[in-house]
């Protein structure tokens, strides 16, 4: 039966139900040619789309926010055809609640490229989790600092990301989980092979989103309060993990002690 599945899988007949639950296998990068796109974007880094969206993020989003206006201005400033805006949004389906597919693409580009940029400087080949990697907190602070230029527009971004829709399930949440996964994988944080794998990623995602929400309303110079908030939050979440581990260890110890006590009492008779 599983042979049948394998065959179907390899012919591309099975599509996975939702992108949320996909954690794809990562092959050993050095054996393969470098991919020309950054997943899940479908265009290369030197394509026209990247040029427009990159320009827009750097120049117009800080002023106008994640809005169609910002993209239109970038297209005009680069001297490109206005019809390009429909090309930009072509990989997103139009949604009743969102402003425009092109804006959705802009947000996706923002999330994906920033995530990629975060770990760009870390050599991908020989990851040694014991030394040479930044801590989880450093990575999270670095990611938050990347958003300082668009700091004033975060409310807007959150509104678009959190609307219940196909976009939330296909892009927003998977990107959040990919980010959390990257932060854990590329930091010296201990990784796990049981339920702790999930709880740690959820904890990091939760910390990141709450810090970002805090950042949206933060008026302190250079968002210093946000960084402090993220630091405290991450510390608390990790402490929660310690509490759980200690409680589990103690429960297991108690169980073993009581079993052995009962056994020894039975053996006396």
């Amino acid at each position: 039966m599983s042979r049948l599945i394998a065959k179907k899988l390899l012919q591309g007949k099975i599509t996975t139900p939702s992108k949320i639950c996909v954690r794809s296998y990562h092959p050993i990068a050095k054996d393969y040619i470098k991919p020309i796109t950054i997943e899940p974007l479908t265009y290369t880094t030197d394509s026209l789309q990247s040029k427009v969206l990159g320009h827009c993020l750097a120049n117009n989003v800080p002023k106008h926010g994640f809005k169609e206006k910002a993209i239109v201005q970038s297209i005009n400033q680069l001297g490109l055809s206005p019809s390009l805006i429909s090309v930009l949004g072509s990989s997103n389906s139009p949604s009743f609640f969102h402003s425009s597919p092109a804006v959705l693409e802009l947000i996706k580009y923002h999330l994906v490229t920033k995530r990629h940029e975060l770990t760009k400087d870390i050599p991908q080949d020989n990851i040694d989790h014991n030394n040479g990697l930044p801590s989880l907190e450093e990575l999270m602070i670095k990611r938050l600092q990347m958003d300082i230029p668009v700091g004033g527009q975060l409310t807007d971004l959150f509104a678009q990301l959190s609307i219940p829709s196909q976009y939330l399930m296909d892009t927003a949440l998977p990107e959040l989980f990919n980010l959390a996964d990257d932060m854990i994988y590329f930091s010296n944080e201990k990784d796990h092979f049981d339920m702790a794998w999930y709880t740690k990623r959820l904890g990091v995602s939760f910390t990141y989103v709450t810090s970002k929400l805090f950042m949206a309303q933060d008026k302190s110079p250079n968002f210093s309060e946000t960084m402090q908030f993220a630091h405290d939050k991450l510390y608390n979440v990790m402490k929660l993990g310690d509490y759980y581990n200690n409680a589990e260890e103690f429960a297991w110890y108690t169980l073993m002690v009581s079993t052995n006590l009962i056994k020894s009492q039975l053996a006396r008779k």
Binding site: M1, S2, R3, I5, A6, K7, L9, L10, Q11, G12, I14, T16, V22, R23, S24, Y25, H26, P27, I28, D31, Y32, I33, K34, P35, I36, T37, T42, Y43, T44, T45, D46, S47, L48, Q49, L80, S81, S83, L84, S86, V87, S90, D181, Y185, D191, H192, F193, D194, M195, W197, Y198
Partner: protein, 232 residues
């Protein structure tokens, strides 16, 4: 050196069409060394999805095996001390299998099975309950489990051998190093699992009392577990 041919030059000559930005135009990044030629093309999403499943289901399976033997040892080691070294030997091999797949899971960044606690609980029960019936029943349980696992590993080996001939840049086709390694690992583990099967038969697994019921029941449970672990 690898470069896209004349086609991309043509499309570059054309300044703009609505569709042209959608095509990936740039050539892959060329690295300046001789080993570039022996590099492989990217694995397809389906191939990656398959490897993802293989690692997840094998990890969950070996976790199960680990807990089954633990359960058996816990129940049997006092009443039947002569079985202790046999069970210990098999258990140690399973622990090694499990840690191998744990490492693979972390290295390739696949997710573990979402219902890992359930696998732990189920596997412990599967070790303890037959062992409480009789040592023969425990051996029958081992026999059933290892039969299913052996077959399952064989199916994986078939798929890995058939479907992972990836093209290289210079045009030749070969299996990537990591696939070869994975194949070797699975082969080694399959042989050891089948060795456990023989051990179980040598230790009177056929003498278990509801033999057919036990083995067939456990086989069905194992197959259902494999089906689930591949997906969840």
């Amino acid at each position: 050196m690898y470069k896209r041919s004349a086609l991309s030059n043509v499309s570059r000559a054309k300044p703009f069409s609505v569709l042209s930005p959608l095509r990936a135009k740039s050539s892959p990044i060329v690295e300046e060394n001789t080993t570039t030629k022996s590099k492989f093309e990217q694995l397809s999403p389906a191939q990656k999805a398959y490897l993802d499943r293989v690692i997840r289901v094998d990890q969950a399976g070996e976790l199960g095996a680990d807990y089954i033997y633990r359960g058996q040892i816990y129940v049997l080691s006092h009443k039947h001390p002569h079985l202790r070294p046999i069970l210990d030997h098999m258990w140690k091999q399973e622990v090694h299998h499990r840690s191998t797949f744990n490492n693979l899971q972390l290295k390739h960044r696949t997710r573990p099975s979402l219902i890992t606690p359930l696998w732990k609980l189920g596997a412990t029960a599967m070790g303890v309950v037959p062992a409480l019936l009789s040592p023969e029943a425990a051996m029958a349980c081992t026999e059933a489990v290892e039969t299913v696992i052996g077959n399952h590993y064989n199916e994986q080996l078939r798929c890995l051998a058939n479907q992972f001939n990836v093209s290289k840049i210079d045009g030749s086709k070969d299996e990537p190093e990591e696939i070869k390694k994975l194949t070797d690992t699975i082969k080694e583990f399959r042989d050891q699992e089948l060795e456990h099967l023989d051990t179980a038969i040598k230790n009177d697994s056929h003498m278990a009392v509801p033999y057919k019921l036990l083995t067939e029941g456990i086989k069905t449970v194992c197959k259902a577990a494999i089906w689930t672990a591949e997906r969840v």
